[in-house]
């Protein structure tokens, strides 16, 4: 019973959404719009579950003073502060919430993202070696694309950006297309397995 209900719900809604695509009747569209509303409502509840889990996990580490508990305390303080500020003065223009977002959260996240440039440079210096024919090809391709995607490449010769664009729009795209077709076929087969109740791992281990 514990499994039969979710499998039945999944089957009914899965097939409804599949059939609805081909049925433009008013009733079908109305039901479809309701399903979309419910999808958003359910998703909001999953956000609540996520937040609750985040608070529980961090609180546990702080209470038990586990290694690095100070970071967990900062995480909890940050979450609480943003929630309080959001409810207190709102999230729009000239609010403390927006000030915190603009002056703390956004720069910190952008800084973390920017660090990638340093790690990429260091990793490229240490790891990008022409050890084999394939590695050399990869190295040359990367060099052409890196130069071709900046104005410097065009200064050297118009062949550099032209070759870079050819690499992106022919061999790279062919590989991407192959991947996407594979992903598409995999998605269809997995979706059918879930709708038909063959694939049940989403229900948990028990």
């Amino acid at each position: 019973m514990q499994r039969a209900i979710p499998i039945t719900v999944c089957f009914v809604f899965g097939f409804f959404m599949l059939l609805q695509f081909f049925v433009p009747h008013k009733l079908s569209v109305l039901a479809y719009e309701n399903v979309l509303d419910w999808m958003q409502i359910i998703f909001v509840f999953t956000l609540l579950v996520g937040a609750a889990s985040y608070i529980r996990l961090n609180t546990k580490k702080v209470v038990q003073t586990q290694a690095g508990w100070g970071y967990n305390l900062v995480a909890l303080a940050g979450l609480s502060l943003m929630v309080i500020l959001g409810f207190w003065k709102g999230t729009g223009e000239n609010t403390p919430f927006l000030w915190m977002f603009n002056n703390l959260q956004a720069p910190m996240q952008a800084t973390m993202f920017s660090l990638l440039a340093f790690f990429v440079a260091s990793a490229a210096y240490r790891g990008f070696r022409a050890r084999s024919w394939e590695a050399t090809l990869l190295l040359l391709t990367a060099t052409v694309v890196m130069l071709g995607r900046v104005p410097l490449g065009n200064l050297i010769s118009h062949w550099v950006p032209d070759t870079a664009n050819w690499i992106l729009s022919v061999p790279s795209m062919a590989a991407k297309r192959g991947l996407y077709i594979g992903i598409g076929l995999g998605t269809i087969s997995t979706s059918l397995r879930i709708i038909l109740g063959i694939e049940r791992t989403y229900l948990g281990r028990r």
């Binding site: 695509f21 569209v29 479809y32 719009e33 979309l36 509303d37 999808m39 958003q40 359910i42 998703f43 909001v44 956000l47 999230t91 729009g92 223009e93 927006l98 977002f101 603009n102 959260q105 956004a106 996240q109 952008a110 973390m112 993202f113 920017s114 440039a117 340093f118 990429v120 440079a121 260091s122 490229a124 210096y125 240490r126 990008f128 070696r129 022409a130 050890r131 190295l139 060099t143 890196m146 130069l147 995607r149 900046v150 104005p151 410097l152 065009n154 200064l155 950006p161 664009n165 992106l168 729009s169 790279s172 795209m173 991407k176 297309r177 996407y180």
Partner: protein
């Protein structure tokens, strides 16, 4: 071997110095960026463009110049703009960018542009707006009912929208293709971070997306087209020098590798 600290210093300098001392390297416009420009440029004034801020704060330095350049073009053409976010962090950012650029062009909120805020569960939101935008966003970001916003009068769903532009740092434009292009046959353009740009070339070639802006370079190219230089063009100098620095480091690394192999067998 060059130690890691020196590499970090070299990269920091190669990014920072060109931002301060302009090199003015000439840029050129690629066909994919031109496509977005032409698509917007051919729209009649009062046409409605949707801009979805599908990104997080981490990619702000890369996505903001693209969003600003596109919005400047839209407002200079007197197009109506509907902004919203399908990722939570894009909400505050989208609202601010829209307000800043609208103020530059003396555009009035509710008449020339609106910002609808954020909706979770992007698949449902994209599909839902294809049926009825007001059902997905009954109120805007300021909690004003869409029925009370003059600009939203007569706008029901994608049929009343001329173009959708997804400004993203992930694969959100692919969802727009899956749900808005495939199901509602809507024109969608993408402005994505450089690292994501290659993922969208297949969609570009198949015509499922109309034009593509890739990172700071995409922004710089768009700035050339609208003849309003901005951070995109300044950033291209820094990107050129830092790319060159990485290539030099790779060459040095390989020289060291081959010399070591030669002397140690």
């Amino acid at each position: 071997m060059i130690n890691r600290q020196l590499i970090f210093i070299l990269i920091a300098l190669s990014v920072a110095v060109p931002l301060v001392i302009r090199l003015g390297l000439p840029n050129y416009v690629t066909s994919e960026v031109m496509q977005v420009y032409e698509e917007i440029d051919q729209l009649d004034s009062d046409s409605v463009v949707m801009i979805s801020f599908d990104h997080e704060a981490s990619s702000l330095p890369e996505v903001k110049p693209m969003a600003v350049a596109i919005l400047r073009h839209c407002f200079s053409k007197n197009l109506k703009v509907i902004g919203f976010a399908l990722l939570a962090e894009g909400t505050a950012i989208g609202d601010q960018i829209l307000r800043e650029v609208a103020a530059e062009h003396n555009k009035v909120y509710g008449k020339d542009y609106v910002f609808l805020g954020f909706r979770p569960q992007y698949q449902a939101a994209i599909l839902g707006m294809g049926e009825d935008i007001k059902r997905v966003f009954p109120q805007d970001y300021k909690n004003i009912s869409l029925d009370q916003i003059p600009m939203m009068e007569g706008i029901k769903n994608y049929q009343d929208i001329s173009l959708i532009i997804s400004v993203a740092d992930g694969d959100m434009p692919a969802y727009w293709v899956d749900y808005a292009v495939s199901r509602y046959h809507k024109k969608v353009s993408a402005a994505v971070t450089a690292v994501m740009a290659t993922s969208f070339y297949p969609f570009l070639a198949s015509g499922q997306i109309v034009g593509l802006l890739g990172g700071l370079k995409g922004a710089a190219e768009y700035e050339i087209l609208i003849e309003k230089p901005g951070i995109g063009q300044r950033g291209m100098d820094a990107q050129s020098v830092s790319h060159l620095m990485i290539i030099l480091l790779v060459i040095l690394g390989n020289m060291g590798y081959f010399l070591r192999r030669r002397f140690t067998g």
